[in-house]
């Protein structure tokens, strides 16, 4: 069999047709949606992670409906479908590796679910029902795309430090580089972690810089400078990292030093962020976990420096 014949066979295979059509559909829909709604760049609504993958699964099921395909094969082909969609997001949408790793459980589960829902739908051969389901999904997609999306959250953590507030304060405003090993799995696989903080002056209005492991710098401005008690800084500029890409904006950070009256201090770290990826029930779990680990990496370092 020559190359031409092989290619012809591949293109005519229902498996390949289903996967290709599903991916073309997904990218067309996302492309149309982005061009119609340029006011919200970076915002990815829940439909893009839920409805589109499910429709992709249903599309493949339509192509596979007359083939004698087993459940395991449907799963395997759906996994390939997901991998292609994820790779295309990496190459064409510029999403980062970790970002795609985070989104992949949603994509895998909804594409597989869509393929099995599609199989059940097309077995019944009830065209009215099938059209109703697909129309409902598209309807939800349109309504969701046109709705306003805003989500802000605050994450708070605290740590006990065996040092007075005055000793802790010296390492809160700015601190020397962190040399401790990463122990959070996302940091270990390449997500940037905080490394050091510098400050232009120790006073209100001073510029603060938070430097991350890959060299990225968050520019901050001190908006509250209550010595030995409270430091608040607003993030005025943050890097356009492919892993973040405007999906999350860190707005503000705060350190509260509570004097326990026995030579120890409770250090509280607060961060506020806006999330631009939805559904929040999924992404907020990740955002909270990452923020919490950023907090603890910094706060454990402050503890180490203060207790020295």
């Amino acid at each position: 069999m020559n190359l031409k014949e092989t290619l012809y066979k591949v293109v005519n295979s229902k498996t390949v047709q289903g996967i290709l059509t599903a991916n073309i559909f997904a990218f067309l829909v996302i492309g149309i949606q982005s061009s119609l709604m340029p006011k919200d760049p970076g915002i990815l609504v829940f439909s893009e992670f839920v409805i589109i993958p499910m429709l992709m699964g249903i599309i493949t099921a339509w192509f596979w409906k007359d083939t004698r395909i087993r459940g395991k094969q449907i799963t395997g082909h759906s996994v390939v479908n997901c991998l292609i969609a994820i790779s295309m997001s990496f190459f064409f949408l510029g999403e980062g590796f970790i970002c795609l790793l985070i989104v992949s459980p949603l994509i895998f589960s909804f594409i597989i679910a869509g393929a099995f829902i599609g199989r059940a739908m097309f077995k019944k051969r009830n065209q009215k029902l099938n059209i109703s389901i697909v129309s409902l999904l598209l309807g939800v997609f349109i309504v969701d795309s046109l709705s306003d999306h805003y989500h802000e959250n605050m994450v708070s953590d605290e740590i006990l430090i065996h040092a007075t507030p005055a000793e802790v304060w010296q390492h809160v405003v700015a601190f020397d580089p962190i040399y401790q090993k990463e122990n959070y799995w996302l940091f270990k696989i390449g997500m940037p972690s905080p490394m050091a903080t510098t400050v232009s002056e120790h006073k209100l209005g001073a510029n603060r810089k938070c430097i991350f492991s890959n060299g990225y710098i968050f520019d901050e401005k001190i908006v509250k400078f209550d010595i030995n008690k409270n430091l608040i800084f607003d993030i005025v500029d943050q890097p356009k990292d492919p892993e973040i890409m405007g999906h999350i904006d860190i707005k503000r950070g705060e350190f509260i030093l509570k004097d326990n009256g026995n030579g120890t201090t409770t250090l509280v770290g607060n961060s506020w962020y806006n999330l631009h990826v939805f559904p929040t029930w999924y992404y907020d779990l990740w955002a909270e976990s990452i923020t919490r680990n950023v907090h603890f990496r910094v706060m454990k370092h402050i503890k180490l420096l203060s207790e020295r």
Partner: protein, 139 residues
């Protein structure tokens, strides 16, 4: 893991699609870690598909559902947990054999659970499904 999720997050199962999505995630996990299990589930499905008046669909709490004349008599979750509707007498005698357990949620019912661990379990799974099919046919 499955029992932990059912116990701790079982209240979410009535939200449309949640259980189906969880089952799909479990199916993906099985595809990666124990792909032969999906073959065993397919074998059960193929065995049941041959029975007259049987249809196969999606179970509302995730998995593959087996119906006789549109009425459910069994379902299998994607981790290989086969739930079958028998009557209490038959259930007692099978439990005595030691291979099956009470249903993982509805303990005091005619439902039973049987976990597929290996290829040999497929035969027993088919045997149980046939019992449930016969029971459904008689009713």
């Amino acid at each position: 893991m499955f029992s932990f999720v059912v116990k701790k997050a079982g209240f979410l199962k009535d939200i449309p699609l949640v259980a189906i999505i969880f089952d799909s995630l479990m199916r993906f996990w099985m595809f990666v870690t124990k792909p032969e299990l999906l073959d065993w589930i397919d074998e059960l499905e193929e065995d049941m598909a041959q029975m007259p008046e049987t249809t196969i669909g999606i179970h509302k709490y995730g998995g593959t559902q087996f119906n006789y004349k549109g009425k459910e008599f069994a379902h299998v979750h994607s981790n290989g947990l086969l739930d079958i509707l028998l009557n209490k007498e038959l259930k007692q005698s099978l439990i005595f054999e030691g291979k099956i357990k009470d249903h993982h949620v509805f303990k005091n019912s005619g439902w039973i659970s049987f976990q597929l661990h290996n290829k040999q379990d497929v035969g027993y799974g088919c045997y149980l499904l046939n019992k449930a099919y016969d029971r459904a046919k008689q009713q």
